[in-house]
Amino acid sequence: MRFPRNILVIGLSLFFMVTAPGGRVVAAPAEPLAVVRQAVDSILVIMQDKKLSGAAKKEERRKRISVVVGGYFDFEEMSMRTLARHWKDRTPEERKQFVGLFRQLLERTYIDKVDNYCRELDASCTGKVVVFKRQEQQGNKAVVYTVFVRNNVETPVEYKLKNEAGKWQVYDVVIEGVSLVRNYRTQFESIITREQFSGLIVKMEEKIKKGEPMENARK
């Protein structure tokens, strides 16, 4: 009861969030907040595209969102932070494999959540659900503060970004203080300790596979 289950839970499912933005086109893409807003806007455009609506176009929607997400999220940084001390023991091939699987897994899990959530909220996904608050910058790192509103409950969501070669990319999402990266880190650490890195890879592949038949069943 004192641990609002909903908060975490929605939180983690809102990795790729959808919003009704205040201003559409942002002029200064160099600003971290603008980058996050752009990412969200781009996803929104796909969600609202009439040509892409309906269950039949789900796969197409997902592919397009995946492309957008790839531009705004730094999956390698994310993987590195998630594997933490185990990252440096990995060969370049292993790292590449892990980044690929982790990305697939996150996308499979969360894009569908946003998709479903959007339909549930309202058909065109225009409800005012995300408020962009402000940003904080420290060298090449930044945090963008947003608030997610659902059922009159406000949930703080923070995006962490890193600037590499002039480009801001998200490497973690923190919801009500719960870091997505750290949450997976804890789980992966325990799996690697018991079943080695290879065991983790097997588990990831299984999980990705398990998501597929459900996907087809829903169509």
Partner: protein
């Protein structure tokens, strides 16, 4: 009443123990992949919460999991089909308003005078204009945002470590410190008094609240589980992060909420 006295004694002992039970310093801090210079205010780095009771905790996690799928979910689903969503949100606000004394006292205990005043104001406005707490005019009309505090957080602010992780049957995730906090807060919780005088009525009220609140978040637990590799660990870690964040008020220390209370809602 004996039971209550017992709780106080036990609580006192626990608090005494807590000082010595602070979690070990970050063993992995030296690892460059952990280091995050923007983590200061937001991310809680550090070791995982101690979990000496893991087998027992996992058992009750399973128990709660089944309780959710077998009882809570079907009942809440049926309930949500019958009762309109805005009514359910009002009921949720009503139960939330009942716990205002907990928030007021704990804001005070933490020396947060402005937030104490805010919570007092919220309680007065919502209990009157909000018709016994069923509405939230304090926020909607006066721009007074919630200032959530509880005894577990207060103890944390005072320097008590979290102790170790406990997954209670029915209540779910907690820690030693937060359990002590919960016991203490029960003295300010009207539902606990109802429960003490009439167990059936109290249990009914708690159950009703749980069903009502669950009906507004159906599907969330399922999503969370689906995204996790080890749901038990995922919940445990999320709980630890969530509570540590609450203790240090990371989200509120950012000007996240200041903007809302001062900037908007100008008449």
């Amino acid at each position: 009443m004996n039971c209550r006295k017992g709780i106080v004694v036990v609580a006192g002992l626990f608090v005494a123990l807590l000082g010595g039970m602070r979690t070990a310093p970050v063993q992995a801090a030296a690892d460059p992949y952990y280091v995050d210079d923007m983590a200061s205010a937001n991310e809680v780095n550090g070791a995982a919460i101690a979990d000496p009771l893991e087998p027992v905790n996992r058992f009750f996690f399973e128990f709660n999991d089944r309780l959710y799928f077998w009882v809570l979910k079907p009942v809440s689903t049926g309930y949500s089909n019958v009762v309109a969503e805005d009514v359910r949100m009002s009921i949720r606000d009503f139960f939330h308003n009942l716990l205002a004394p907990v928030r007021i006292v704990n804001n005070l205990l933490q020396g947060k005078m402005k937030n104490t005043a805010t919570e007092v104001g919220r309680f007065v406005i919502n209990s009157t204009l909000g018709v016994a707490g069923f509405g939230d005019p304090a926020k909607n009309e006066f721009g007074l945002e919630r200032k959530e505090e509880d005894l577990g957080q207060t103890l944390g602010v005072y320097g008590a470590g979290e102790g170790f992780y406990i997954c209670w049957p029915l209540l779910g995730p907690s820690s030693l410190r937060d359990t002590v906090g919960l016991a203490g807060d029960s003295f300010l919780n009207p539902l606990a008094y109802v429960m003490a005088s009439d167990f059936g009525a109290g249990a009914g009220a708690y159950g009703g609240r749980e069903v009502n609140n669950t009906s507004l978040t159906l599907g969330d637990y399922e999503d969370f589980k689906e995204a996790a590799f080890d749901p038990y660990l995922a919940v445990r870690d999320a709980y630890q992060q969530y509570r540590r964040n609450k203790v240090i008020d990371a989200s509120q220390n950012g000007s996240l909420y200041k903007e809302q209370t001062s900037g908007e809602k100008q008449p």
